[in-house]
Amino acid sequence: MTDDLGRRDPRREDVTGGLGVGTRDVTALPGDRSGNEPGALVVGTGTAVAEPLVVRNDLWLPVDPAAYGGGRPAEITHLAELEHDERQRRDDARWSGLLEVIPTKADYVIDLLRANSLWPLLSGLACCAIEMMSFATSKNDIDRWGAFPFRASPRQADVLIVAGTLTTKMAGPLLRLWEQMPEPKWCVAMGDCTCSGGRYKRSYSTVEGIDRIMPVDVYVPGCPPRPEGLIFGMMKLQQLVKDRRGHWPERAIGPTVPADV
């Protein structure tokens, strides 16, 4: 189980048939933590348990004050010591009730359905669009993941894969596209230009990363990223969808970069 440098390969344990379905996320990197901290920037990968941010749910209160645990905050299942433990993910997909809602098995299946048929919106802006097309066509076929129909209309799309440089002139239309997409929706920033501005960071007419205008779930760096890289990003997105770790349903996170940077 150790390779010739004496390292243990964490992915070799408990890998079940499909990718991501099962006990272990094969796309996870060692520093990843699947979890329910929508507002917290994860800094550092230490094993110390961070103080969880509990956002009280004021939007909806049950009629019976004793229901759903009687108003106690639900147990946080996301602890570092449980990470490599089987108890982390249970069959009914119970997750820490920051919103104090307990999803049922139906929700788990619905998440699986959503993840395996993410329909992207055709929003190829520049060079990354060619690699996105390449990722959709024969050799790297995204149809294997159910994402073949690139919808032309934002009303019918699930994922907005922003591929290409975002300019200030295009920022308005792109934001309008994002707002036109109905929920649930996710956003993938493909390429260096959308992640951070890339090679056009000092330019007068580009936006330095689309996270200045819209919430992003997956960043796929590269200039352009290889189709295999984008496939990795989509698989990561599928895992996010199943974990409910993306920006939906807990939305309005805002840009991860302060506006005055």
């Binding site: 200030t168 002139k169 000092r202 007068y204 007419s205």
Partner: protein
Amino acid sequence: MDRALKARLESRFADVLQGDVRQRHDQTEIRIAAGSVSDVLRALHDEPELRFVVLADLAGVDTGREMQVTYHLWSETTRDWLRVIVEGLSRDDPRIPSATFLWQGAEWMEREAYDMFGIIFEGNRDLRRIYMPPDYTSFPLRKDFYLADDAARSPGAGVRHMERTHDPADAGPAPLRTGTGT
């Protein structure tokens, strides 16, 4: 280098040329003033022993002191590219006759020169911004257009050679541009 072309140009345009006809590698360069643009271009296009029918490029240039417009032309009569540099356009109000009377395809190139430099092409029926949004007020490719956070003008600039701009007088910190154009 086509010496015969140089002789032909010097004999034909002797009165409007400003300076020598320069030649280097496969390019011949002539310089004229803005007033003679229409005549020179028409002569280059129509005359049977010049026949420069292909306009390969129309570029605006900001030399810091003045503005220039450069045309690159191709003819089947010579092996060289011909470069026509129209110099002497002032930086405050650069005006030059349009080349759209000869080549309709020059229209967008002139729009781009206007958008980037502010050069007004008289006779272009559609002189508006092409790249920047229509309410943009600056002309980006001018030499006095700097971004607010341009690394070249920060106090730490000059440490690496790439961080210096061309004008050594502009080594100080930049004032924040509020968007009022030149």
